[in-house]
Symmetry: C2
Subunit: 298 residues, 2 copies
């Protein structure tokens, strides 16, 4: 039987897994993200060792970015312009290929998570769908007509320009590029700057959460209007706050104001805007799902 | 040889065509949109007559909406909740099928135009791409991973909530659902209300055009960030204004502020945000392209 490898390459940690799905996890390892040579080397060693026990048919990577997903580009498979020290222009696929003779499928962390939630999680059998993560950064992946959405680069929906109600929230935002874009207004660091304390220390009754839900709902309304997704899966640290999902759902309905006539939105929004079903493993399992889909996703 | 039929079903006029592409137009007819029975009947008569001369392999429809594109829905192929008198809940496919024994492919007017521009026009060989029309209304279609983007309903990007600079433009917008959404701020009727005269009568040097370009560029920046399209084709009456494209392109670059690192945007935006190459025939030729793609698009 074929087994598959998955790498969730995050800015603070890597997760590597071998298996065939959430009910068939053969091995899993987590380690901190240090230098590219050390970190990718560590991943390669793990898979080399695993390959001695079972044939690895392919390895999927869901990486932090920005990344180059264009197979025709000379820097295909690179992490490109990241501000993360040492990681700009990292030939991720090349370094892994130098160590391993296994087909590799490369995508963004959020496209991998979206693909995983589509295959085994909260968006099974649905298309198109969006996976959004709201934490230190904000990013989104899209599965559309059966495949992850690539393009000129890849979606950067965390930088969406926002309807910003300055009476509700005069905060100018923290994005160095766009000020009050989605990430500038609603990421963890934005909340910390806005309120002078980390988001996770703000009490449930703090007005911060109403404002946070407002900003997230503006963005979700725009995602509904732009993509008409069949489900939106929202993960990330900020979404762990109790009570945030119901607030976000109600405000999304308010902003859409009955325009999108679907009972999914008007009556069953609890099933429409949902947390990931694969929990913190959406990304690495999604990377395995991408590998299982090889070569059609390559 | 097989021929194909196309219908561009607009709120003010229908265009019906038989042919095999822009260089092979066998017959074309235009008539005003009156009642559903009369207008769809007129279209059916045209194709019945044409079918006597050559076999029609399929007919594509690009329709004003909202429409039901879900084959599993009991109202698949209907124009659903349109405010256009007499047209709400019109069984478009059903009425055509009652008159014609030909496979029918049904989509939105803007998805058809997007598909046409992809096949023969300004976006040949590119994926994903967006077709946007800015006129009496604002709407967009998307081709992604080879097919038009459907979903819960279909994209309604004309109603995107906007970063609204109220110092530049204090106008509250005209959308009955969302006030200052994209259509509320930038459609033809919005310009007329804002300036007290129709857009096409505003002189080139009028400040209206700078503000109009601003709003369009906010929306285009968001489409770039959400979809990462390989090209955006922008049609519609408002875009006929001389000088609007260069203004829109420059402001889109300004709003993105170097974040999306692609030379398509930073250096070659003249080839990235472009008018339709099929002119006023994007829609009806797109409908023919959808028909030619049957059954894979049905």
């Amino acid at each position: 039987m074929n087994l598959y490898g998955g790498i969730e390459a995050g800015g603070t940690k890597f997760v590597c897994m071998v298996g065939g799905g959430p009910d068939d996890i053969r091995a899993e390892v987590r380690f901190p993200t240090t230098s590219p040579v050390e970190t990718i080397g560590h991943a390669a060693d793990f898979f080399k060792q695993q390959a001695q026990e079972a044939h690895l048919a392919a390895i999927g990577i869901g990486s932090f970015g920005p990344v180059d997903l264009d197979p025709a580009s000379p820097t295909f498979g690179y992490i490109t312009t990241t501000p993360k020290p040492g990681w700009a222009n990292t030939n991720f696929i090349g370094m892994l290929r130098a160590a391993l003779d296994v087909p590799i499928v490369f995508d963004t962390d959020v496209n991998a998570a979206a693909f995983g939630e589509c295959r085994w999680g909260a968006a099974q059998g649905l298309d198109p769908i969006i996976y959004l993560t709201i934490g230190t950064g904000i990013g989104g992946g899209v599965i559309c007509n059966g495949k992850p959405l690539h393009g000129l680069v890849h979606p950067e929906m965390g930088h969406m320009l926002m309807r910003h109600d300055r009476e509700l929230d005069p905060f100018p935002g923290v994005c160095p590029f766009h000020g009050d874009c989605f990430e500038g207004l609603a990421s963890g660091p934005s909340m910390k700057k806005r309120w002078g304390q980390p988001a996770e220390t703000l009490p449930d009754a703090h007005p911060a959460w109403n404002i946070e839900a407002h900003h997230i709902a503006v963005a979700l309304a725009n995602l509904v209007l732009n993509f008409s997704p069949r489900r939106i899966v929202v993960g990330g640290g900020v979404m762990q706050q109790a009570g945030l999902f119901p607030l976000v759902r109600r405000k999304t309905q308010q902003f859409l104001n009955g325009y999108v006539q679907s009972t999914q939105i008007t009556e069953r929004i609890d099933e429409y805007i949902v947390p990931p079903a694969l929990g913190h493993r959406s990304g690495v399992l999604g990377a395995i799902a991408l590998a299982m889909n090889f070569p059609s996703e390559s």
